[in-house]
Amino acid sequence: MTTFPLPFRRATREQGGTLGRANLWVYGLLTAWVLGSIFPFYWSFLVASRDSSMLTENIPPLVPGGNFFANAQRVFDTVPFWKALGNSVIVAGSVTISTVFFSTLAGFAFAKLRFRGRNVLFVLVVATLAVPTQLGIIPLYMAMAEFGWANELQAVIVPNLVTAIGVFWMRQYTVEAVPYELIEAARADGCSMIRVFWHVCLPAVRPAAAFLGMFTFMTSWNDFLWPLVALNADNPTVQVALEKLQSGYYVDYSLVLAGTTLATIPVLVVFVLLGRQIVAGIMQGAVKG
């Protein structure tokens, strides 16, 4: 059994809807699907490990060559890739810590505290999920230029400090995961609200916070439009650096795909290590949402 160690609705597993035992057809189709899912990653590595001349053949050899490190070296020579990696770690890291903290805090308030206007405010949070804030980038850029934040990392960090989806997700989880009795007991012991949050709520919602953290990190790491607007080629995130790598007059694909391979490895490693939790989180979110 490999379930998420959580008091989520675990009962959903193996419960119903099952078509029956998997046969060879099912395994065959799924295998084909997974191979198709992996292939573009492999292709990227394949081209990166050879030189671009392989692309002139109709069906190029599907075995990696020995040029990957040479091509990777060229990536670092062409764009400030170390800086881009560092920037992406700083940006995605700060955004993740901040989003998880503020979402958990707000989720706790919406789930467990009673206050005037709570329902209205929560409906507002949900409503903002449908607002395409990406379309506000023009004034946002003007404001950042005004502050002198253009081409500074805080320009891409600050707009993402907390998200509606984070607040929503943490609220839904906290409702079920934190018993009122525990909060009352902590209050009786003289805990202030923030200590109740820190010592009672936070430990109980850790699994959901961990999922939100992974999700936020991946989203932030992969974010493109706003970083492209806010940052220049000399101070990029990984995604912006990749785009710059591709936008020469002549595209050297073994160079560019070495870049995408390097940029994908970190998230791929995280995914291989934590994929099972990510799968569980998405499925539980689906049942709740």
Binding site: G16, L19, S37, L55, I138, M142, L242, V287
Partner: protein, 334 residues
């Protein structure tokens, strides 16, 4: 609605007798008051970061976009000129804008329709009794970790007109090469394939979760009634999945209409914002980006952004009303 936390007041009176010395007694009212403020204000303090951030970097820029759209406003411009509705008048007659609108809708339809069908099929496969179910799920979700930029670059290479693998395979099996970038419809198909590649597995997991939430008794009843596997799927499972499928469509609408990265990186001319030599796959968001940051015409770009905003809100409203109707009829049937 009371402003106090459940049993808070009782808890605090319990505290009082414990204070042993005169000094402590004098401090109680202060502590009492502090605790009261703590209970009253903390919730607002805790939810405020979201509203402050959303207000400043979400809502305000969006509304200010509307304001900017009434000006002739260059990127570096201290004296924008108020021109009223002129940007909108130009927009309505702008062939490129209409082309990008059609492109956006076309790519969206090509990606969301097949994607939902494939996601349901995939979920049905994953819902059989498999060995190592989690491993398969992780495998199916794999594309989700790839960044849109990486996907754009990899697929632009795979769909390359001369040296792309896809055309290489087409030629090898005796079919004609397709100029994936130059041909309008083909370029939409290629971009839709990128979108589907990334999202189908993710949506399949959501559908799978909904399938597993279907009570076993309903399916057993169908078995007793003599329904075969296929019949069970179409007559029992699929109707019960409807709310989830609608949810998937609604969430994909908001993102799908703002598609930007894939068409930007798919261009045969790297770094270009044209969406192809004749804008054959330029989307509205890409057009907005080009107008604002390449042509440096912020006023006009804001008008483009605002029109897209209105379209998205309208589509979301229609979705919402449809969902409610379908959801209520679904309830009635059950």
């Amino acid at each position: 609605m009371s402003t106090d936390l459940g049993t808070g007041r009782d808890l605090r009176t319990d505290d009082e007798p414990e204070a042993p010395t005169g000094k402590a007694v004098a401090r109680i009212p202060w502590r009492h008051r502090l605790s009261r403020w703590d209970v009253r204000l903390s919730p607002y303090l805790y939810v405020s970061p979201f509203f402050v951030i959303f207000g400043i970097v979400g809502l305000f820029p969006l509304l200010y976009t509307f304001y900017v759209s009434f000006f002739d406003w260059e990127l570096i411009d201290d004296n924008p000129t108020f021109i009223g509705l002129e940007n909108y008048a130009i927009l309505l007659a702008d062939a490129q804008f209409w082309k990008t609108l059609v492109n956006t809708v076309s790519i969206f339809v090509l990606s969301s329709g097949p994607q939902i069908m494939m996601a349901v099929l995939l979920a049905a496969l994953l819902n059989t009794r498999l060995r190592g179910p989690t491993g398969w799920r992780v495998g199916v979700l794999m594309p989700y970790v790839a960044s849109l930029v990486a996907i754009g670059i990899i697929f632009a290479n795979l769909f390359g007109p001369n040296y792309g693998l896809v055309n290489g395979i087409l030629e090898t099996i005796g079919l004609d090469r397709i100029d994936w970038q130059a041909d309008r419809f083909s370029s939409h198909v290629a971009i839709a394939i990128m979108v589907n590649w990334r999202w189908t597995g993710y949506n399949a997991l959501i559908v799978l979760a909904a399938m597993q939430a279907i009570p076993r008794e309903i399916l057993e009843a169908a078995v007793v009634d003599g329904a075969g596997a296929v019949r069970r799927f179409f007559s029992v499972t699929l109707p019960l999945l409807r709310p989830t499928l609608i949810f998937v469509v609604v969430t994909s609408t908001i993102g799908g209409l703002q598609i930007f990265t894939e068409p930007k990186l798919f261009d045969a001319m790297p770094g270009s914002n044209n969406g192809g030599s004749t804008n054959q796959f330029q989307t509205i968001t890409l057009y907005m980006y080009q107008t604002a940051f390449e042509r440096e015409d912020l006023g006009y770009a804001s008008a483009v952004a605002w029109v897209l905003f209105v379209i998205i809100i309208l589509v979301a409203l229609v979705n919402f009303l449809l969902t409610r109707r379908i959801a209520t009829t679904g309830e009635g049937k059950r």
